[in-house]
């Protein structure tokens, strides 16, 4: 049974697209048929972060309007087997994503894929609602920072009231908290909210912590999902998120101290 997962946050710039690219590539690396959809009509960027921007011919809105087939619009990733991208439209107005059209595309994708990842635009407007409406699960991407936490809470409220599962009285969307841009040192000095603080306020289960890391920008510069850079801290952290999402408990990755590294345990 295919699962639809929305990557959402409310606030912009917290790492939704980075997470969508890394999480979908991570699932595909584990052998799952995965497709990632860009819902940010007019401000398409997933293609760029995933390094397939020059291969876009047809997009999501073309498929909805019947101007191209789903097969024509789906871009097969060149690095990871079983990973596909459906890019957003760059030119159309955002109302082009109709509820019926989105439902039809998702139904068709469900027949082919195990995981359908929906990269939500920022904000709480039509595009964001369309991205979350049909979801079974949600990754709520949050920075340890007041505006991001507040917006995430707003989004969690919408997940439980404005989605198909809420409207049709079905079991609620399964929510996962993903804290990104985390700097443990600044938490220690009392300058940054801790994961425990964020979790206490938002009250949803934690699926992972992505450290603030230069590797995230380096990966997006190159158009490579950061999980493919396996030796980076952020890449490892995303692989752990995927493992936890799949129900495994990844090994603890406590950073070893200088002396431990020198002399061993």
């Amino acid at each position: 049974m295919a699962k639809i997962i929305v990557v959402t946050s409310g606030k912009g710039g917290v790492g939704k697209t980075t997470t969508s690219a890394a999480f979908s590539a991570g699932l595909a690396l584990r052998g799952h048929q995965t497709v990632v959809l860009d819902f940010d009509v007019g401000l398409r960027n997933l293609d760029l972060v995933m390094g397939c921007e020059r291969r876009v011919v047809y997009d999501f809105v073309n498929v909805i309007n019947g101007e191209g087939t789903l097969n024509q619009a789906l871009i097969k990733d060149k690095r990871v087997e079983s990973l596909f991208i459906l890019p957003a439209s760059q030119t159309r107005d955002k109302d082009a994503l109709t509820m019926k059209g989105v439902a039809r595309v998702l139904e068709a994708l469900k027949k082919r894929f195990e995981f359908i990842i929906c990269d939500s635009p920022a904000g709480i407007e039509h595009g964001a609602i369309m991205a979350m409406y049909f979801a079974d699960e949600a990754l709520v991407v949050t920075n340890p920072e007041v505006s991001s936490v507040r917006d995430s809470d707003r989004i969690i409220g919408m997940l439980s009231s404005k989605t198909r599962r809420a409207v049709q009285n079905l079991p609620p969307i399964k929510e996962h908290l993903l804290v990104t841009r985390y700097a443990p040192k600044r938490v220690t000095t009392g300058d940054m909210l801790s994961v425990e603080d964020v979790q206490e306020i938002l009250a949803i289960p934690l699926v992972g912590i992505i450290p603030e890391s230069p590797s995230v920008l380096q990966a997006s510069n190159a158009g490579i999902p950061v999980v493919l850079e396996k030796n980076t801290d952020a890449g490892q952290a995303y692989l752990d998120v995927v493992a936890r999402f799949l129900g495994e408990e990844p090994p603890s990755r406590e950073k070893k101290g200088f002396l431990t590294r020198l002399f061993g345990n």
Partner: protein, 92 residues
């Protein structure tokens, strides 16, 4: 109390602690506003209270504030009416 504790008191609160406290308050407030069960009657209550008060005192719409706060098992209805200056207080 040890001598060092005095210095701790003098230190300003860490910003992360301030952030958490502010967030807890605003998030709780906004959740109440979203909750369809608790706030539906507040606008109407506010309007009717305003009418009653206006029978005796001339006040503007914004001078009345109604707020429901949940404290443990209790719900506290807070009503705040700002009366105009003495000079402007005249029997209607």
């Amino acid at each position: 109390m040890r001598i060092f504790d005095y210095f701790r008191i003098l230190q300003p609160q860490k910003t992360a602690t301030v952030a958490k406290e502010r967030l807890q308050i605003i998030v709780a407030h906004e959740r109440r506003l979203r909750d369809p069960n608790t706030v539906d009657y507040l606008p109407l209550l506010q309007r009717e209270l305003l009418e009653v008060v206006r029978k005796y005192v001339a006040i503007e719409d914004e001078h009345i504030k109604v707020h429901v706060e949940k404290e443990g098992e209790y719900e506290v209805l807070e009503l705040n009416i700002t009366l105009p200056d003495e000079k402007r207080l005249s029997p209607l």
